[in-house]
Amino acid sequence: MRINLASIFVDDQAKALDFYTNTLGFEKKTEIPLGDFSWLTVVSPEARDGVELVLEPANHPAVKTFRDALVADGIPFTSFSVADVQIEFERLAKLGVVFTQQPTAMGPVTTAVFDDTCGNLIQIAAMAQNPGA
């Protein structure tokens, strides 16, 4: 058994595809129209055969309450790995991405949290470089 998909609820699939590809830099992997919605996934260009992120419609009535509560408390829905949080923060901020937490060293890991414009907060994280390595 292995994990090949991770899902995230998005308000609007077309808007989400735009943000996750053009702003974040992921690539569309699959788009299969299924009635009102699509089976829509993106992957990182750094791992095209890696885990696919499913951009899942947020149309279930419970989703809004759940996500509003998470967002109000600043809790990210998921986390992506980056090489350097500060560099990524500056790149995304220039593109107009809103951060609820600026880059912060949290022990061995540096994190930041941004709004994905599709109803979620997302954390980016990088392990601190080992100066001896």
Binding site: D68, V71, A72, D73, G74, T100, T104, G107, T111
Partner: protein, 116 residues
């Protein structure tokens, strides 16, 4: 009637400083204020992450919310909603109550006291 009101006033004032000191006399709440001095305007998530990673304090999110409520109750913290997010800010103005009640001794006032 006037005496009654004065009495109430003085009780309220003592209660205020007492609650302020009680609010401060907790290592988790003190750490929360330290972190807000480091960067003001944090989400609950960031406060929890900083407590865990920088102070080794890992209370539940509900417990941290209660600590924030205590700090907010004595005016040391205020929370603001900005769109869908809620940020927490430190407010040190109530600490003036402490120095008002126990003012710093000036050289003049100490020498006055040592006069025979």
């Amino acid at each position: 009637m006037a005496r009654l009101l004065t009495g109430k006033c003085s009780l309220a004032f003592n209660g205020g400083v007492d609650s302020l000191l009680k609010a401060l006399a907790d290592p988790t709440r003190a750490a929360i204020l330290d972190e807000l001095v480091d960067r003001d305007g944090q989400t609950l998530f960031e406060i929890c992450a900083r407590l865990a990673n920088k102070h080794g304090i890992t209370p539940t999110r509900q417990a941290v919310s209660q600590h924030l409520a205590v700090l907010e109750g004595v005016g040391l913290l205020r929370s603001e909603r900005a769109g869908r997010y809620k940020f927490h800010f430190i407010d040190t103005s109530p600490l003036q109550e402490i120095s008002r009640r126990w003012p710093q001794q000036t050289p003049e006032s100490s020498s006055e006291r040592t006069k025979p």
